[in-house]
């Protein structure tokens, strides 16, 4: 989905503030929220990490930007546990003593018939173009590289295809690639000099630049 989570290259954001000696967790509720996700995935096996990421992406846009990291975390966990029927929203709101905002429903995504190629189609040094795709569901191809040309710098490992795994559909593992883009290809006149961006992309996101 072309969601608010896909922030790379967006304008209008201010300074980045570094906190000295930042602790792992600032508040105990953050640690509890962190551990609840572990419980849901490892013990209850209610969902996988791709579904979790997608549940956070589906948050209402204004809520997403206003929420802290662990509030987004909790919202993703709670949304999935409600959608999977483990708890109900009424139970959550009764215990919370007020509204418990959840993410918006996901798009219908269909399983893909036939096995995608597990053999690497590209090698280091190959020119590739990222498909100009706009799927309704989960994807890990950032908007700012779609349609852009880059060069493979490393053939990485095989990993489950997130566009299917994010919807609890059978997901094949396929090759991933570290693809390097010149800043000028991504940002044209606004590009920083002598700068490249390397993005980690699944094979299905790519086509050969000379095809």
């Amino acid at each position: 989905m072309d969601g608010i989570h896909d922030l790379g290259g967006m304008s209008g954001f201010g300074a980045v503030e570094i906190e000295r000696d930042e602790p792992t967790f600032h508040e105990r509720w953050q640690a509890r929220a962190f551990a609840l996700n572990d419980l849901a995935m490892r013990v209850l096996q209610a969902y996988n990490v791709h579904e979790y990421r997608h549940a956070v992406e589906r948050m209402n846009r204004a809520h997403y930007l206003a929420a802290s990291y662990y509030e987004r975390w909790l919202t993703g966990v709670a949304t999935l546990l409600v959608e999977k029927g483990v708890v109900t929203r009424d139970e959550l709101e009764t215990h919370a003593g007020g509204p418990f905002p959840l993410s918006r429903p996901g798009a219908e995504v269909k399983a893909v018939g036939g096995a995608a190629a597990a053999v690497p189609r590209f090698a280091a040094g190959d020119s590739v173009i990222v498909r100009n795709m706009h799927p309704a569901g989960h994807t890990r191809a950032p908007r700012y590289v779609r349609g852009k040309r880059g060069v493979v710098v490393r053939v990485s490992r095989h990993f489950a295809f997130p566009d299917l795994a994010g919807h609890a559909l059978p997901a094949h593992a396929e090759p991933t690639y570290h693809v390097e883009f010149e800043a000028g290809e991504l940002w044209r006149d606004a590009a920083d000099s002598r700068t490249t961006v390397v993005v980690d992309l699944w094979q299905s996101y790519l086509e050969g630049a000379h095809e």
């Binding site: 790379g8 906190e19 640690a31 551990a35 709101e93 920083d192």
Partner: protein
């Protein structure tokens, strides 16, 4: 979901966390002590000081450095830092010619085993939006002014590979012990938004 419900303010976040825990506990879905065990595990093991030790070893041991750059996961495991799950670690070497910096534009993925759970600034929309587009200006505003002749390589953690920067060893540290060197390394240097300097307190003061 009624419209009236949407207009009311949400329950405080700590209450919502408690509510999810209470709803699960009421169904007896939380094994005794599980949450405490998991968060103690996170606080003990997901620590950027692990990465600082990896860097210090690489600075004093050329063979380890070569193994680290060839196979980050394997070399990290040599020091006892085993990644959670199938974390695939690639280490990025800073040189006089190239400076590497890491971001996750779509969420906040990090190499937990060596960088720890990510700090707030790394998770901020500001950092996620800006680093891929204007790295030189952003890094300068964070206290790292890179000379024009140094190329900048930004790594977006968009897939399952996890990255750690191997910063340059500061001059004037010949003969320093591994522990002394590790104490110079900051979390910011492991992500690539700072250099390692001789005064670690000054490094943290950005």
């Amino acid at each position: 979901m009624s419209d009236s419900r949407k207009r009311e303010p949400a329950a405080p976040i700590a209450e919502r966390v408690h509510a999810l825990e209470a709803a699960l506990a009421a169904k007896r879905l939380i094994p005794e002590g599980f949450l405490e065990k998991r968060l103690a595990h996170a606080e003990e093991n997901f620590d950027w000081r692990n990465g600082a030790r990896v860097v210090a070893r690489a600075w004093v041991d050329p063979a380890f450095r070569a193994r680290l750059l060839a196979d980050g996961s394997g070399a990290g495991a040599e020091l006892g830092f085993r990644a959670a799950g199938r974390e695939y670690l690639v280490v990025l070497e800073n040189t006089d010619a190239v400076h590497n910096a890491i971001v996750c534009t779509q969420c906040s993925c990090t190499a937990w085993s060596v960088i720890g759970l990510p700090p707030d600034w790394y998770k901020s929309p500001e950092y996620r939006a800006r680093l891929v587009r204007e790295p030189r200006a952003l890094l300068r505003s964070m206290g790292l002014d890179l000379p024009e002749e140094v190329a900048v390589r930004v790594w977006d953690t968009s897939g399952e590979t996890r990255y750690m920067v191997l910063p340059q060893r500061p001059a004037g540290t010949d003969g320093w012990s591994e522990d002394e060197l590790a104490a110079l390394v900051t979390r910011e240097a492991l992500i690539g938004v700072a250099r390692v300097g001789l005064s670690s307190s000054a490094q943290g003061c950005l």
